[in-house]
Subunit: 388 residues, 2 copies
């Protein structure tokens, strides 16, 4: 954002999403809440909260722990998985340190097998994730897995989870998501009054924090954004290329890609990933006979490339393109993430074919070694865009 403009989250942690989350979770712990570590967007947050626990997104985004990880894991593996494991191996993830249990899922080969190597340190529960979300069995099976997780949380924390509390959390998530989407609507404006870093600050905190704690922050954010719009404050230039970023979760050292896009003159108007809009994009059915089944449907609808076919991702991209009016789509694929890497072919065909829009796939890791090459490619992409 331009100099002199007050950050949306003006709490001393602007641009430091993980530090803010850690502070928040430490306070929750002091208040007597249990902390549950999570590695993935398929972990049903509402169930964790209904267990009077707070979800902690575990460390996964730093290059510095990869060297330690590679003493055990193959080098040719997704940096997110290597980094996650390296944090555990070097005992340097403060979120893991305060977690009393860990939830894992069979989302991808690398994570699934890495989890085996860190099981036994803390109570860990692995959820068997169905991969064909359109099959009726998937809904049944994932519902059963969510109920199994309920049992694990109840046993681990010696506390019964009430269906009514799950329902309450479902409604709370929906309330949070509605407000989050109001903020996303500001990002959709031309020019956009919000930066990717402010966006990221919010989506990151929103994972850890309850709706109750988020409400004042979100309302203040909306008020600030209204003020920015009224005062004509916007990010970038009026004719900056608008970028939709899709693909793998991106945080920490991988945000180099976002920085390069901005430095090259682009404005990121939407982050479609688990570290962006994805956790907030859908609503969970309320007041159903079985709240676990409602959770199951919502989480199965997450358009992750681990699903086959992942047609929901194309549908979501269509909606995002209409809503955020990007000029280009950038697909960020973490090195050796087979599912996003292979799916990128379909995404490219969809974006360049149906939407007639420029598409750039960036395969990267957490090192700085490819910064120059990525910059050249992003600059070339922006140069070939038609004048606005």
């Amino acid at each position: 954002m331009k100099a002199g403009v007050e950050p949306l989250l003006n709490d001393g942690f602007a641009g430091e999403a993980t530090k803010r989350s850690l502070g928040y979770l430490q306070k929750q712990r002091e208040k007597g809440k249990n902390i549950v570590g999570i590695y993935c967007g398929y972990a049903p947050l509402e169930l964790i909260r209904a267990a009077n626990a707070a979800p902690a997104v575990l460390c996964a985004f730093a290059n510095k722990t990869i060297e330690a990880a590679e003493t055990v894991l193959p080098a040719n593996l997704c940096p997110l998985i290597k980094s996650s494991y390296g944090f555990i191996k070097t005992d340097t993830c403060p979120f893991f340190a305060i977690s009393e249990a860990v939830i894992a899922e069979t989302t991808c080969d690398g994570k699934k097998k890495m989890f085996e190597l860190i099981s036994g340190i803390k109570p860990m529960h692995v959820m068997d994730l169905p991969q064909l979300p359109d099959q009726k069995e998937a809904l049944e099976n994932w519902t059963a897995m969510i109920k199994k997780l309920k049992g694990f949380l109840e046993t681990t924390f010696n506390r019964k989870i009430e269906d009514a509390d799950v329902e309450k959390e479902i409604q709370a998530t929906n309330e949070k998501n509605r407000l989050m989407n109001k903020i996303f609507d500001f990002a959709a404006l031309t020019p956009t009054p919000v930066t990717w870093l402010e966006f990221y600050d919010l989506t990151y905190l929103g994972q850890a924090a309850t709706t109750q704690d988020m409400l004042p922050i979100l309302k203040e954010t909306i008020a600030k954004l209204e003020k920015r719009v009224a005062e004509g404050i916007y990010h970038g230039e009026k004719d900056s290329p608008r970028v939709l970023v899709t693909g793998c979760p991106v945080g920490g050292d991988a945000t180099k890609v976002f920085k390069i896009i901005e430095e090259a003159g682009g404005v990121i108007v939407v982050l479609d990933s688990c570290t962006g809009m994805k956790p907030y994009s859908g609503m969970i059915a309320e007041n159903t006979p079985d709240p676990y089944r409602a959770l199951s449907r919502r989480y199965l609808d997450l358009p992750c490339s681990c699903m086959t076919p992942n047609s929901r991702r194309l549908d979501e991209l269509d909606k995002m393109i209409e809503r955020f009016k990007p000029d280009v789509v950038v697909d960020v694929v973490l090195h050796a993430c087979h599912s996003y890497n292979i799916e990128s072919h379909k995404i490219k065909e969809h974006i360049t074919g149906m939407h007639k829009m420029p598409f750039l796939k960036i395969e990267t890791d957490y090192s700085q070694s490819d910064v120059g090459q990525i910059r050249t490619r992003v600059e070339a992409l922006f140069e070939m865009l038609p004048q606005k």
Copy 2:
């Protein structure tokens, strides 16, 4: 095998397992059987056979189709998946050509996403494979998937599959496996009277061929092996290092590893993979109230690295080490196969720790570029073995 010794399968196809299988399947087709293409050991063969169809293992083992595959798939992907896709893209897999339907499974990220790219050419059915084989839900869910496959086969071939026929096929598989294991027992002898190529010829044909067709071949093979033993004919030298090969499926161009092991003076006494003993190692429960559930249990017990935790693999290795008395264990990991690659760490710890046995992990692809390097490592491994 030494010069002058009659091959076990003396049908003009010795050492050419795929050609023999193709000939067999073409004859089956002429007899009116349907052909069903499979890519993986989780495809329940008994159900395919009960549908009056024959399973065809689809092409996946040639380097020559990888270049074509890489125009769509990432280069950094398992060669088996790239080769499989390349065969379809270049329309050069004769097994696919004669298949009227294809069965796929969500075994790994790469295959799962590759299948999306070849769906629609032939009727394809994707089975959602549970990944936590010890959970009671896994048995239920995989049983449901097997019954769903039954529905697919019935619809595709417009033919009802009778439970009694499934039961008959279960018993037939058990009969085949018992005889196969008699042959494996010969491989367990010191010195061993059978080569890996003869072994491979048999295990490959046994996938396509019915028990009825295999019986005379297996009985003749056993008679030949008894004769070899009686006449003191054996493979390699009496003190050749005995090698247990574990890991990824290996065929075609990847058998370079087997050739190098033999050229370096080793004798492969057991191939523990889907192209080796794995499909024949277990028995299916007979005369149960639900034959689909019996199949489910058996197939879920396959110790593939896609399972978590895959403790069955360690159990099977223990049994194989006792039975085949290897001097070394070689773990063959295909490039970018994350699950076998990560699991290799556990296997190494188990082999070198519990069994105090030398262990070599070979990560390779289908090219010839690493032949020299693999040879050096295998030779070094054999040199460090204690004198017998």
